[in-house]
Amino acid sequence: MMNPGLYHILFLSAALFFIGVYGFLTRRNLITMLMSIELILNSVNLNFIAFNKYVWPEKMDGLFFTLFIIAIAAAEAAVAIAIIINLYRSHQSIDVENAEDLKY
């Protein structure tokens, strides 16, 4: 049984980050785009925790940073969902393809 090392976790978090970026750029549903952003933020959390545990165990900055990221992500999602609900009221849809009044 092999214990996971720093590189395993960094690989996982980099993969999560790019899955998030890919999802953000290709998905057309606003809620799914928001979920992709959450993936990105969680990959960052993993990064901070891994660096804190394996590389800089005596400096706790990474751990604290993670706590703040979780809180801010919730605040950001709250505002984003409020805006999306409002968008749904006026457009009857949460597909970005339907929000196309503003162009060029």
Partner: protein
């Protein structure tokens, strides 16, 4: 305790105003007109308070630091919000939720103040979010309008995405150096590949917030969709605050990596100026037009930043001061016309001189200043930026920037021509301008003319930096 009160003075005043507005909101409430005058007085007090008890120092283990230059930058932003509260009075009186609007706006300003003063990546990230999330809510303030909610959606998604990128950069930087404090970071930077990668991520996030090409796509849509008060806030105050912190992060923290970022800035500055100008040529909506013009102005700010010395610092702060006056004057005129007639297109401005000569002269002065025509302050601002940029001897770069000033003349003068020379069967009828709005416009006009002519202002900024 005493030190805490004096060093965090600007933030404490803003917090006090936010709480006062909250209590007014949950209390009996006030009529919009009297509330707006109260807010204007409070913002004026906030601006004047910025000039007293200024000391240099840091708090909370270097997380927060302040200096005379930082206080001066905060004063520029305070002046900007005071002018916005006066210029957009017509729209603000009509809005149903006046206290909420100012609570959101002042929270964003509080975020920007902390952002400029931040001395640590954690406080930097938190205040950056505080400076952007309320603005997205503000962009949706015309709740029943389709365009407003579309603009707000674009703003919140792109800002959340860019802060994700920023965080990824910060996490890699923490892994590479083991610290998130600005002071300790500089000593740890040696230009290893991991550090350069994390710097690229950080730079991308800044580029998103400053709308540097190729990360500018959200700008025009958000500017067009939001109410004009929010658009002017976004284009002047947010841009100014992010430009200040961008500059101090590059000059202080990433000084050891200056060879890396100099080339990035040169390429992006050229792209920003050229693409901002070319897109501005074909815009019909006045807000969209000003959005692309502000993208082009950011390109010029980058020319000043590329110098990497005290001259660049001075010239950028000086330029932002001028930019506050000229852009707010232009947005103020657009706001008056939109609030009274609902017209926002350049074609609607045809023949405006016949009916509203005062508005025309203010708009023309503002556009001349944005274009950089000599008697106005905009010329001196651009001159100092280009002089600072030429310190490295990269003259091709400066020549391209100067050529871009000529292209920009075309589209600024197009609006001036529409107002003064074109004929129109049905021009905008005569507008009775509110005295507060008129006063704010005269302050802006005086600023545009005088800042260029009074040389002690530039010398004063230079003595601070």
């Amino acid at each position: 305790m005493n030190e805490f009160l004096t060093l965090m003075k600007s933030e404490l005043v803003i917090t006090f105003i936010i709480f006062l507005l909250l209590f007014i909101k949950i209390g009996k409430g006030m009529k919009n007109e009297s509330l707006l005058s109260l807010i204007q007085v409070l913002l004026l007090v906030n601006f004047i308070a910025g000039f007293f008890f200024n000391k240099e120092g840091s708090l909370f283990g270097d997380m927060f630091h302040t200096s005379p230059l930082i206080v001066f930058q905060k004063n520029i932003l305070s002046l900007g919000i005071y002018l916005i509260s006066m210029l957009c009075a017509d729209w603000l009186k009509k809005t149903e939720h006046l206290p909420e609007f100012f609570i959101l706006m002042l929270s964003a300003v509080l975020g920007m103040f902390l952002l400029i003063s931040s001395g640590n990546l954690l406080i930097f990230y938190l205040s950056l979010e505080l400076a952007t999330i309320p603005v997205a809510a503000m962009a949706n303030f015309d709740v029943e309008k389709k365009r407003s909610s579309e603009g707000a959606m674009k703003m919140i998604l792109s800002s959340a995405f860019s802060s994700g990128i920023l965080l990824f950069g910060i996490s890699l930087l923490y892994g590479a150096t083991g610290t998130i404090s600005f002071g300790e970071l500089t000593a740890q930077l040696d230009g290893s590949p991991l550090q350069i990668l994390s710097f690229v991520f950080l730079f991308t996030a800044f580029a998103f917030k400053l709308s540097i090409v190729p990360f500018h796509l959200w700008t025009a849509d958000v500017y067009e969709g939001s109410p004009i008060a929010v658009t002017s806030f976004l284009s002047v105050i947010s841009k100014g605050a992010i430009a200040f912190i961008f500059m101090s992060v590059l000059f202080k923290v990433f000084q050891p990596m200056q060879d890396v970022w100099y080339n990035m800035i040169v390429v992006l500055a050229i792209a920003t100026m050229v693409i901002g100008n070319l897109f501005a040529l074909r815009q019909q909506n006045i807000k969209r037009f000003l959005a692309f013009s502000s993208i082009a102005q950011v390109g010029f700010i980058l020319v000043g930043i590329s110098s990497n010395d005290a001259t660049g610092l001075t010239s950028v702060v000086y330029f932002v001061l001028i930019y506050v006056f000229s852009n707010l004057a232009a947005f103020g005129v657009a706001s008056v016309i939109a609030a009274h007639t609902g017209k926002e297109n350049v074609d609607d401005y045809k023949g405006l001189y016949k009916t509203n000569p005062f508005l025309c002269w203010i708009m023309a002065l503002a556009l001349f200043s944005l274009a950089g025509i000599p008697p106005t302050a905009g010329f001196f601002g651009k001159l100092f930026l280009l002089t600072a940029g030429s310190a490295r001897g990269n003259y091709w770069f400066i020549i391209i920037a100067a050529l871009n000033m000529i292209i920009s003349l075309y589209y600024y003068l197009r609006v001036v021509r529409a107002m003064f020379m074109d004929k129109n069967e049905q021009p905008v009828e005569k507008i009775n301008i509110n005295p507060t709005v008129k006063l704010a416009m005269i302050i802006c006009a005086a600023g545009i003319v005088l800042i260029g002519l009074l040389s002690w202002i530039y010398d004063y900024i230079q003595s601070l930096s």
